[in-house]
Symmetry: C4
Subunit: 175 residues, 4 copies
């Protein structure tokens, strides 16, 4: 945990997988639906806290669903990469564009298709219900499940590492 | 708990946050949806018990979703304030309109954007899955999770504090 | 439990509440929806086992939702009473129509608005997540939660009480 | 477990029930819906790992829902048998078509209508939340619940039995 906090305080860029991170990994479909996802209102407030504290936020997903754009827009996330097989390559592009270093990058992912980013990040955080192959290689495993406060828990850790109190009353509208 | 029961018996106005209180904090969306929420039928019966026993009921939410109006209408809740950043200000307006005092007001909330109301209420109750920043400052933390019987549990406590038995057979239609 | 099994073997009519019994008590809505419910495929197979073994099955609900008719039709349940405040009265009508006695009637319910039927049934069974007021007065509390195998668990108990093995391979189509 | 691993290494054909295996057994419906199901993104990745490693994959379901075809198509599953009462008969047809033997066939099922296949398979695997009648006769009961990583857990076991590491980074798009 000491190592974790040492690394957290240098983070400037938070990169998030979509399914299993913003959601609980569930895809709800009927024959006509493009696929409902379940988001968590507390995770949404977490993204707002990141933005208020000047973190860069990006989504990198293997999925190509339009719901990713819709959720990103609702939360004001501008960097959205969809349908990505090679997540390492696209991560490097994002880092180059933003002039962000490996030491300043954290990745939140839940499955083995996220692990390709490992060489170019400082911390890989997995939710408690991540795939075992992902948890084995993670820097840290959260107490929360994906889509159930996982993002918020890590946001709180990031803020604390920078001496920002994440428990203060916060005036905001929900999404 | 003694303190809690002492305060419960003076309550006349129950103010509720929406997401995470009426719901489990989940927002279900597809690219076309305005966002489904999951409500609990037992919480609905709790609202009816409040009304039958002459409590005033109000919703104060940071969200601006139309589903809030729909659920409020189904449950006969007349005071609905949406898209609210500063919940303290709007709470005072409600209290003034109804001529209800601080000592007569209870608030049910689950996140740090609810904490602004603390100066003007008697009791702040958080569900067991509330954000940690919210639980730390709550008067009491329920056994139930938000959207999973949380409202009903607190309604039962309110009725018991006024010597009304909340376990008696109750003839009513569901919503 | 001896008493329970003694009574189970005389049961001919199974009366079920809808929300919290066929479902987990959740009502999923967006501004346009009439309210989605979540059913359990194993409970559906339970209803088929009841029918195959010549039990009478009826739904008595306080709700007036069209989804009750739809689910009942899919499962071949013919006796469906909706929007009922006084469940005792309607239960007596059903019993009269079918010439079924109190000793032959079991009721599955999860909240205090189901308790009015108590004078005219042999057994009242509540799911493990029923309201406390309902559990206190129940003949038996199931291991399963409502909408998560509760109906099936009680069906299995009913079959066993009549020396039918509910664990045998069963050829059927799902609904 | 030794016996299980001995048998796993001969498997070439994975046959899956649908409801309770690809899903958690929930059927979400409103009066107009054909029935939403909840799928798990990690199970989807499991199907892709099976295909990459040249397993044959088939769905055999008692349900006739169109959502089965939709999910199968998204995952590239070609053998889909719907509305099946007698699962043993259709299993034999699949085995004949593919020239796959009993010893090479595994079945994933969660209820007693799946048990008819027992005479013609090597292994019957049930999720931890399967019906008790199904668990009693299963070769093995998974740690995961149906629709919550159950398929993926068994895929990992299959790969390990063939000395393939299922925990390596894997470049793929999600579905």
């Amino acid at each position: 945990m000491k190592n974790l906090n040492d690394k957290l305080k240098y983070i400037k860029l938070v990169v998030l997988d979509f399914d299993g991170v913003f959601t609980d990994g569930g895809i709800y479909m009927d024959p006509k639906s493009q696929g409902f996802r379940r988001f968590d209102v507390k995770d949404g407030l977490g993204i707002k806290l990141l933005q208020k504290n000047n973190f860069k936020v990006a989504i990198v997903s293997g999925s190509n669903s339009k719901i990713i754009d819709k959720r990103a827009e609702a939360l004001g996330i501008k960097i959205v990469k969809k349908g990505i097989s090679n997540k390492l390559e696209i991560l490097k592009e994002i880092q180059d564009d933003l002039k962000i270093k490996k030491e300043e990058t954290i990745f939140l992912g839940d499955d083995i298709n996220d692990l390709t980013v490992l060489p170019n990040i400082s911390l890989f955080i997995a939710p408690s219900d991540a795939h075992i192959g992902c948890k084995t290689k993670a820097s840290y495993i959260s107490k929360s499940r994906g889509g159930m406060g996982f993002i918020r828990e890590i946001v709180d850790d990031l803020l604390i590492s920078k001496n920002v109190d994440p428990y203060l009353p916060f005036e905001t509208k929900n999404d």
